[in-house]
């Protein structure tokens, strides 16, 4: 049941056709895992907190550095040198104290992924390193959880919705770690925030059942040229990480 205050707080989004009180209840009971709350994940978390997703679990290690602040909009100047996890929790709680915010001061790894993925409905991958992304992917596929991939670089934004049994996975899209990938990448917060807001809406659509998710499709947006393309992607027949197609282990 929604409280009177919740009906008022979320009223404008409940007006979106297909949402209503039933859709808002689904958001209230949803659990979403976000891997890192940086330039992309921070904005994903901000949007999902504002929308009233009942439980946000966020994995992000380390202490806040000045070089984070151009894009990691959950972080505030006064927290420099302190754990990012503290700042993430405080900013999101200030925005929406009605939801549960579970911030873990760890980055995704093969060791912690089973525990962190275990009880969530959707996972959103916003990590800046391929080993973290692959750890998240492999566990999401193993547990049959939808995985939203939303990486960016400079003015490039990629977005796709992987759903075990219905699509491929990150290993199908990119089977190997590119050796030239570096931890530091060129980024304006306006670009990481753009792909983040689209990824957050993929999660909202999946949870509420409105719209159509980007299954078997990679959206590439180049914000420098403002060219956007929808490109077909598929499961690799020999992918060892994907469950077989038609083996529907997820709930949609």
């Amino acid at each position: 049941m929604l409280t009177d205050f919740e009906k008022e707080r979320y009223g404008w989004q409940m007006d979106v056709p297909g949402v209503g009180e039933a859709g808002q209840e689904k958001l209230k009971h949803a659990r979403v895992l976000i891997s890192r709350a940086g330039g992309v994940g921070g904005l994903v978390a901000f949007q999902l907190a504002a929308a009233g997703v009942g439980t946000l679990r966020i994995a992000h290690a380390g202490n806040l550095k000045p070089s984070d602040l151009n894009r990691q909009l959950l972080m505030t100047h006064g927290h420099l040198g302190r754990p990012r996890a503290e700042c993430i929790k405080q900013t999101l709680s200030d925005l929406n104290p009605l939801i549960e915010i579970d911030v873990i001061a760890e980055n995704m790894s093969a060791e912690n992924a089973p525990r962190l993925v275990g009880d969530v409905d959707v996972v959103i991958d916003c990590a800046p390193l391929f080993p973290e992304r692959f750890a998240m992917n492999d566990e999401a596929m193993r547990q049959g959880k939808p995985l939203i991939e939303c990486p960016m670089y400079d003015s490039d934004a990629y977005l796709t919705f992987f759903q075990p049994g219905r699509t491929g996975c990150l290993r199908c899209l990119h089977p190997e770690t590119p050796p030239e990938w570096k931890r530091r990448f060129p980024v304006f917060g306006a670009v990481s925030g753009t792909v983040a807001c689209m990824a957050a809406y993929e999660a909202i659509k999946y949870i509420t059942g409105i719209g159509t998710n980007l299954r078997n499709t990679l959206l590439h947006g180049d914000l420098a040229t403002m060219r956007f393309r929808r490109l077909p992607i598929e499961r690799r027949a020999d992918c060892p990480y994907c469950p077989p197609v038609n083996e529907r282990r997820s709930n949609a």
């Binding site: 992309v40 990486p151 490039d156 990938w181 990679l218 929808r230 077909p232």
Partner: protein, 90 residues
Amino acid sequence: MPKIILPAALRGRMNNPQDEVEVAGATVGDTLRALTNDHPELNDILFTNDQLHPSLRVFVDDQSPLPDQCLATAVKEGSEIVLLPPIAGG
């Protein structure tokens, strides 16, 4: 001539960045060789041991050729070849 669309992730590696280049060729393989002839700095991202890098995604006229047939895929006047390397900025 066919056209190759270069995302920011590849432009950033080019000595003379361009968001699209026209190249001669009848197949994807021809056009990518023409691209790396003109821009050898892209060779290591596109190819590994003379094969397409397995993590590079190539789309031809908004279709996705099978990886083992990609280089032999025919292209024509006005074809658009989109190259998307793996990125992980988050």
